[in-house]
Amino acid sequence: MIAADTLIQAARMATMPPDEARLVADLKAGRKEAFDRLVELHYDRLHRLAFTMTGSDEDAADLVQETFLAAMKSAGNFRGDARLTTWLIAILRNRFTLHLRSRRKWRHAPVEAAGAVRAPESQPAVRPAVAAILERVRTLPEELRTALVLFYLEGMKYAEIAEAMECPVGTVRSRLFEARERLKKMLEGAMP
């Protein structure tokens, strides 16, 4: 049985892009440069997702930081049967849930921050109609919001989203459907 598991894992590692396979190996070996590279590759993506969850830059930065630290700590457990992206997203979501349970700090964030849409200062101001959409997106339950962001912003396939969200592919499909249905109802007449 052990031999079979190892074989399957090796096969999965083989399907991983070579850069990523190397990075995973370095992470498991505890190399500091690997950690820097991991942050460099995935920071923006995780921050975007964390921002939709928490509704503020500061909280998102904290959440991402915790995610990377947790990832580093458990790199040895990374089995290589998932992509690094989906593994990190799964950790991020777990950290977010932990916060929800323990501190209830994030729970109120989407509502409080709903009116405070932020964009980097160098960017032109976000059009009000677009800001209104983001506001509605923030009112969706976390699992619907995350599915939307992973699909539209990260360009992930259903199967990848399923892996990141630790659920069946069919659930991803119905979550995206549900999210769009709800938004359509909320946004009737408000779309740019």
Binding site: H47, A116, L134
Partner: protein, 448 residues
């Protein structure tokens, strides 16, 4: 494939995630269903716009300066130091880049609005405590007034004040319909005015059946609440049976005079151009609205106790309560009209009460007019002026001047709405307080 299944399949297809078997079924369905073919285009457009909007808002949401993330080492204090260092670096980078910017006009607007909001909230708290005190005094006064129209005026004043103290959250009612009436009855007697107000508001959501269950609990309620429940029950369930129904000759015309149990008056007579019908909510209103018919009928008296064509008609079944006004006042008619309703109700209650205490109807009316004029002279809705405290503006300004423009603009919009809501609520409660005082004066004047 049903249309429902087709719509889900269309979304998967647009997402590029449909399997060949399902695609085949979908295409077969689309060939014969025009509605679903339209759905394809609509959903494609929606999905595109959603994607574009998300990219526009969140695609660039990552911060310019990425915080330094360091892996944990084996020594905990090193990790603590690293985290602290990150905090210092991020904090420093964040402040130096923004500290020397000039204060944008939007920041000043937001700080002003925040200070204004503080002012309104403070004023609201102070007004709420005055309203609570006045409502408590009126409640006590009501419990010492004999039952009748005047006491109703007081009871509605108490309920009106409670609604103003209820807050924005509606009361969560039990799932089981049979429990709702008794539940609201219990909450009506709550010592907490906010809960009491929520219960008053909840009454309007009860069905007629639930309302009658609430009415069964009426014996358990204290003075003002008992009257209120009876009035609401009266207004929900109009008593539409005639209590007085007489035919008289007036100016050689056969005329029918009807007063229903809820006080409504209806006069029918044969006119030159066919049958004519005149109606009003009660006798007093009728006499005001149709003076010629009143003169022809020689109509005198108040509800339940009227003289029609020289013949006295008495009916205990006419409730002689200002039921027709109760819903209008209770459920918060828009600004302006509620005062008139309150005054009309007060006047009617005074006339009824004075007439019952032995005055002739003309005397009762003239005395009621005097009292109402006295009350009017002594009251008037005060409008509290709320201004932004300059010291508070400065405090808020230090916090918001570091925000970016988008956030400021969005916050300004949100605050404008919030302040408008607070202003509206404050004005409503000022009117409620005015009503409570009017009711207090009315009860006092009637005793004199």
């Amino acid at each position: 494939m049903t249309c429902d299944e087709a719509i889900r399949a269309i979304e998967a297809m647009l997402d590029g995630e449909i399997e060949s078997g399902e695609r085949f079924q979908l295409e077969a369905h689309l060939a014969g269903c025009e509605a679903c073919r339209r759905e394809v285009e609509e959903r494609r457009a929606f999905s595109d716009r959603l994607g574009r909007s998300l990219h526009e808002t969140l695609g660039a949401a990552a911060p310019k300066a990425r915080p330094v993330v360091r892996p944990p080492t084996r020594v905990p204090w090193m990790r603590i130091a690293a985290v602290l260092l990150v905090g210092v670096i991020v904090g420093y980078a964040g402040t130096t880049s923004r500290l020397f910017q000039a204060t944008p006009a939007e920041a000043r607007d937001v700080a002003n609005l925040l200070a204004l909001k503080d002012g309104y909230e403070r004023e609201e708290r102070s007004l709420a405590s005055r309203l609570e005190k006045a409502a408590g005094a009126l409640d006590h006064q009501v419990s010492r007034t004999r039952e009748g129209a005047l006491r109703d005026v007081g009871s509605i004043g108490v309920a009106n004040a409670a609604m103003g103290l209820a807050g924005r959250e509606p009361m969560a009612l039990p799932q089981e319909p049979a429990q709702r009436g008794p539940y609201v009855a219990r909450k009506l007697s709550s010592p907490d005015w906010a809960v009491r107000g929520q219960a008053v508001k909840a009454m309007r959501t009860l069905s007629a059946g639930e309302m009658s269950q609430l009415k069964e609990k009426v014996v358990l309620l204290n003075g003002a609440n008992r009257d209120l429940v009876e009035l609401v029950a009266l207004s929900i369930d109009p008593l539409s049976e005639p209590a007085i129904d007489v035919s008289v000759e007036a100016q050689n015309l056969k005329t029918r005079f009807v007063q229903y149990r809820d006080g409504r008056v209806r006069v029918e007579r044969a006119g030159a151009g066919g049958p004519e019908v005149y109606e009003a909510a009660n006798v007093i209103e009728f006499r005001g609205a149709h003076p010629v018919v009143t003169a022809n009928l020689r109509l005198q008296g108040v509800d339940g106790d009227v003289v029609v064509g020289g013949v006295r008609q008495k009916s205990a079944a006419v409730s002689s309560r200002p039921a027709a006004y109760a819903p209008a006042v209770l459920w918060g008619t828009p600004a302006g009209s509620s005062e008139r309703a309150v005054m009309a109700m007060t006047y009617q209650a005074l006339v009824t009460d004075l007439a019952r205490s032995g005055l002739k109807s003309e005397e009762a009316e003239s005395r009621a007019t005097q009292i109402v004029d006295l009350i009017r002279a002594g009251s008037g809705v005060p409008s509290t002026a709320v201004r932004a405290d300059p010291a508070r503006v400065e405090i808020h300004l230090t916090a918001v001047r570091l925000w970016d423009r988008t956030r400021l603009v969005a916050e300004r919009e949100r605050l404008q709405e919030e302040v408008a809501l607070l202003r509206q609520h404050l004005a409503e409660n000022e009117r409620r307080l005015d009503y409570v005082r009017t009711a207090q004066e009315t009860l006092k004047a009637a005793v004199r």
